[in-house]
Subunit: 250 residues, 2 copies
């Protein structure tokens, strides 16, 4: 029912993704930006909930504050566009009110639905952007201080910032980061226990990658990185923040 | 840095998404399936965590059980391929163990990271699949009975099934579902309160859409649907299930 003419180009486009952290000053056309968001809207959404709001941030002071709270990621300030993707149950709460109902708030399930809605939407925006020659960088570090982000954007209850997205024309051309061997993550019928050999294989791939990127300076492997990352608490404020925002995880 | 030749095709491809619930018997080539998963792996992932495992289910009995627990969605049984996308922190737990650490388990933040990783990955699989003429349907209803899904797939702790995905060649050609007006979800600088007029506009769009699809039988608008959906508890077992699986939301 669809033609297959763009077969290879789309697979290649997807496979060529890498985060861009340095952008030219070329602006993104207004009409293109709207096309990208429309592409995002076309992604699947649970029961047509559309639990997504996108806030476009242009104010330089807001940008600077967000770059800082994200740990000093200058590209948040510099990218032609910076979008904050929010999981939004405020709109559905409004629908409930209109018909005299009260939203069953704080459900873990609703939290999952809205968060997944946001990610599917954003990834469509990303694919659309990259097909137009733009580069992108997701900014999960907005969750370093989600309360400040909420205050800056005047987010009401039942809305939380999932991540930001830098968009602009690339002023760098980094290589793609190698991923885990396909067979380590694609399984048949049942979950497969972690295969130590596969992990060692990937560790060596990543060691080579980091050495190439840093001219031999960085000697690091993936399993060590993960152990450093997951071996410590991460953003322990999230639970309380979400609860305060109405996402009670019940 | 990238050519723009596929500009319109990709935007059009994304905009033409609709769920497919009836498939031909044509199988999906093994090499194509692997290409799709590779495309998924290329999506952004938080700190290169790659918190995703994909389980390909072919066993007809498992398929039938999942179709049933998903509320009798026959296409789960019938589609050429059925994939279960799991948020996976078991692999990173293994990395911690290897270096004598203990994973800081149960963090809400880790839950968010892995869930978002899964959705970004899956959406890339979907875009790749649709570019190859396949149709897809996300199956969030696996969360109707996530424990049974976990048992069927032998999922260990720190792994949970986020959703399923039917893949196959379409045997139907439904129209795209209209989405909220762009200006209802794209906001400048700050969150914008719900605009009742925009909502009424969309309600009428959806009324027309449903009437057209059902030959005038269905008289329903979006805001009513949302109020019915969110006005009641949804999958209230999720919290306890996740907690038992190691996702303690702390």
């Amino acid at each position: 029912m669809k033609n297959n003419t763009m077969t290879q180009p789309v697979l290649e486009l997807l496979r060529s993704h890498r985060s861009i952290r340095k952008f030219t000053e070329q602006p993104v056309e207004e009409s293109l930006l709207r096309d990208l968001i429309t592409a995002g809207q076309s992604a699947a959404t649970s029961s047509n909930l559309q639990g997504v709001s996108v806030i476009r941030v242009r104010n330089p002071e807001t940008r600077r504050a967000m770059a800082e709270l994200a740990g000093g990621q200058a590209y948040v300030e510099e990218a032609a566009e910076f979008l904050v993707f929010c999981a939004d149950l405020n709109r559905s709460g409004w629908c409930c009110e209109q018909s005299g109902k009260t939203m069953a708030d704080g459900m873990t399930e609703h939290f999952i639905i809205a968060t997944v809605d946001v990610a599917l939407f954003a990834q469509n925006v990303v694919v659309a952007a990259e097909s137009e020659g733009l580069g992108i960088c997701y900014i999960g570090a907005l969750r370093n201080d989600p309360q400040q982000v909420s205050d800056l954007l005047a987010l009401p209850d039942n809305v939380y910032p999932v991540f930001g997205l830098c968009l602009g024309y690339p002023d760098q051309d980094p290589e793609c980061k190698p991923r885990l061997p396909l067979d380590a993550i694609l399984m048949e019928e049942h979950y497969q226990p972690v295969n130590a050999e596969r992990m060692a294989e990937y560790d060596e791939t990543m060691r080579t990658y980091y050495q190439r990127r840093t001219g031999g300076k960085l000697d690091r492997v993936w399993s060590q990185e993960m152990s450093a990352l997951l071996g410590k608490e991460s953003r322990p404020h999230m639970r309380e923040f979400l609860e305060k925002k109405g996402f009670k995880m019940r």
